[in-house]
């Protein structure tokens, strides 16, 4: 059998993809349903000369990957809801200091300890606003193994391109489900390497002065440039500053570098949208059931379409507005009380035509669930 064809769990796919993208440092803390990521990396990283460390908690895990990223490593941590909550302060630090890193959150039912072994998608808003202060953030997701593979690589590439943490919002179903993965040949998917400064030693290096294209060339710790990294507002040398123009400039930069590039960051898949009267919008594992409904109903002449979001943040408001212009109704299929629903309502011209098709009981949403809810939306209900 082709060794590139695998039948594995989603969490293992994430590991394979991270290594393909050049991951060489991982710090983490065990938590269901993400633990397999740590277990597989504990085995695979040292085999390739990389490093794995199990930290004392998720706060420390997030801190350790930021430290390692500064030494030039490609870094990742993996967790689930409670651990993701603990990471929020250091996540904000990575945003402020523009340190590339990838955080995997295999979502389970929340809040609190919630449903450790069940599926949920309740961390969408936390990924956006979990850490304090205004900031831009990138969060990606996927519904099947081939996409988990490519979107994980995207996460590393975007983290390097925009020098920012990137969150991978997978969920328990995707993480634990087994299905086929075809591992691409090396080089088949392009990898973005870290942009390093060309400034020579002894020349004044400005670690926090973006180039014209907005990118910030880095210098690794241990190299010829010694500079300061701080979570305080800082000037182009990395020195703390409360000068209003410095503060405003950095604040703008941190937000703009993400929001001005929505189109470059946005990834989605569409099915039968051209003439769809009813559009399902979904993401992650829930999109699998949504796709099933669409594929089953289309041959019967029902004008159903699916827009599967892979970039959740920055939210593709404009794209959604355009795709949904002619739809009579829109149903957002998700495993929470309506977190993406809210964003979709803000995106479309007529929020009244947007409905929620969800489950919030820890049980995976089935095509039957979605069809039942659609009956109400289409006025054919009880």
């Amino acid at each position: 059998m082709d060794p590139n064809i695998k039948f594995i769990q989603g969490n293992e796919v994430c590991v394979e993809a991270a290594l393909y993208a050049g991951l060489n440092f991982f710090a983490g803390y065990p938590i269901t349903p993400s633990t397999e990521i740590a277990e597989h990396l504990a085995q695979k990283l040292p085999e390739q000369g990389g490093k794995f460390i199990q930290m004392e908690d998720e706060i420390a895990s997030m801190a350790a990957i930021i430290g390692a990223s500064l030494t030039g490593k490609k870094v990742m941590t993996a967790t689930s809801g409670p651990g993701f909550s603990l990471m929020q302060e250091a996540l904000g630090y990575a945003i402020m200091t523009e340190i590339p890193c990838v955080i995997v959150n295999v979502m389970r039912g929340g809040p609190s300890t919630g449903l450790p072994t069940s599926v949920g998608q309740g961390d969408v808003m936390q990924a956006r606003w979990g850490t304090h202060g205004d900031h831009g953030i990138i969060a990606l997701t996927a519904s099947n193994h081939q996409d988990v593979f490519s979107i994980t690589i995207d996460a590393f590439n975007l983290a390097e391109t925009y020098r920012t943490p990137v969150i991978l919002l997978f969920d328990e179903v995707v993480g634990h489900m087994r299905e086929k993965l075809v591992v691409p040949e090396p080089g088949e998917i392009p990898i973005v390497e870290r942009l390093r400064t060309s400034v020579k030693g002894g020349v004044d290096y400005h670690p926090y002065l973006p180039r014209e294209d907005g990118r910030l060339p880095m210098s690794d710790f241990g190299g010829v440039h010694r500079y300061n990294v701080t979570g305080l507002y800082h000037d182009m040398w990395g020195f703390p500053s409360n000068n209003p123009s410095v503060v405003q400039g950095l604040h703008r930069h941190l937000n703009d570098k993400i929001t001005n590039n929505v189109n470059q960051i946005s990834r989605y898949k569409e099915y039968y949208l051209e003439d769809a009267e009813c559009i399902l919008i979904s993401y992650g594992s829930a999109a699998r059931s949504a796709l099933h409904v669409v594929q089953e109903r289309r041959p019967r002449g029902e004008k159903l379409g699916l827009l599967e979001l892979q970039t959740l943040w920055p939210f593709p408001y404009q794209m959604i507005k355009e795709k949904c212009e002619n739809a009579k109704s829109i149903a957002v299929v998700e495993l929470n009380a309506g977190q993406v629903l809210r964003a979709v309502k803000r995106a479309v011209n007529d929020p009244e035509k947007v409905f929620l098709a969800n489950r919030i009981d820890g049980v995976f949403i089935t095509p039957v669930d979605i069809r039942n809810m659609l009956r109400f939306v289409q006025g054919r209900g009880a």
């Binding site: 350790a64 430290g67 250091a90 630090y93 710790f221 300061n228 020195f239 703390p240």
Partner: protein, 267 residues
């Protein structure tokens, strides 16, 4: 090189109060580095939040000023990422042992080759004089206006119990000893803890009627004694100075390198 050559003058004046002991720690830490002949490019200073943590900004090394209490966790990532670097972590008593207590004991347990300098002024200075886990019973603070009923940690005993392989203590009065001890702490392969009693005349001194900065330093002279001295036997209340604990034990990054070797061979 002169001490000045290790400073980022662009960053001055510093933000410490008149009489603060932290400048003495900074000066003598730089002397240790100078005497060891370390290159500035091979030193990373990682700090958290607080008055003491501002040290990292003032020195011309690779510097990482992080979030409250987590400096050792960031430092662990830096050290494991590039073990050839010398990683020094200056911390305040609250930063190291209240919010950062968990990271402190686990860094010690791993025996990762990091030098932790606990600048103990027994108070939260930056936020204006609240009691810390090292203030001790009976002290006064803005959050202990009647008197403090919180017991304090013994940093040295805690570090030793947690697995630190080098533990030492001195004070800002004993400036030359700071240089000597930090030198040995940096050279030690493993997790080193140096506790330095450093005065905060603005908050601890004022709240606890210890007088001026020089009075507080004289108290360090009066209340401490070299380890193993006759004076300690006569007066057990005295705080011992010097290297309190030093043992050889496998260092984390070295051990991980062995893991990599074994894993790559098995492949």
């Amino acid at each position: 090189m002169a001490i000045k050559d290790y400073l980022r003058e662009r960053f001055f004046p510093h933000m410490w109060c008149p009489g603060c002991g932290h400048g003495i720690v900074l000066n003598n830490m730089l002397r240790s580095i100078e005497q060891l002949g370390l290159s500035k490019n091979e030193i990373v200073m990682v700090s958290g939040i607080g008055c003491s943590s501002r040290i990292s900004g003032y020195v011309d090394f690779h510097t990482l000023h992080t979030i409250h209490g987590r400096a050792l966790a960031f430092a662990t990532g830096v050290k494991l990422g590039l073990p050839e670097l010398n990683v020094i972590v200056p911390m305040g008593d609250g930063d190291a042992l209240a919010i950062g207590g968990n990271h402190f004991i686990h860094a010690a347990r791993r025996n990762i080759d990091i030098t932790a300098i606990v600048m103990n002024n027994r108070i939260y200075g930056m936020t204006g004089g609240q009691f810390s886990p090292l203030s001790g019973i009976g002290t006064m603070a803005t959050t202990a206006p009647f008197r403090n009923i919180d017991h304090d940690f013994d940093v040295a005993e805690l570090s030793k119990a947690a697995g630190a392989t080098f533990v030492a203590r001195t004070t800002t009065f004993h400036a030359k000893q700071i240089t000597d001890i930090i030198k040995q702490a940096i050279l030690h392969e493993g997790f080193s803890v140096v506790e330095i009693l450093t005065q905060c005349p603005t908050y601890f001194g004022r709240k606890n009627r210890e007088g001026s900065a020089s009075n507080m330093m004289e108290l360090y002279k009066k209340n401490t004694t070299p380890i193993g001295s006759q004076a300690k036997q006569e007066n057990p209340e005295l705080i011992e100075r010097g290297i309190l604990h030093e043992v050889e034990a496998p260092e984390y990054c070295n051990e991980y390198d062995k893991i990599i070797k074994a894993a790559m061979k098995g492949k």
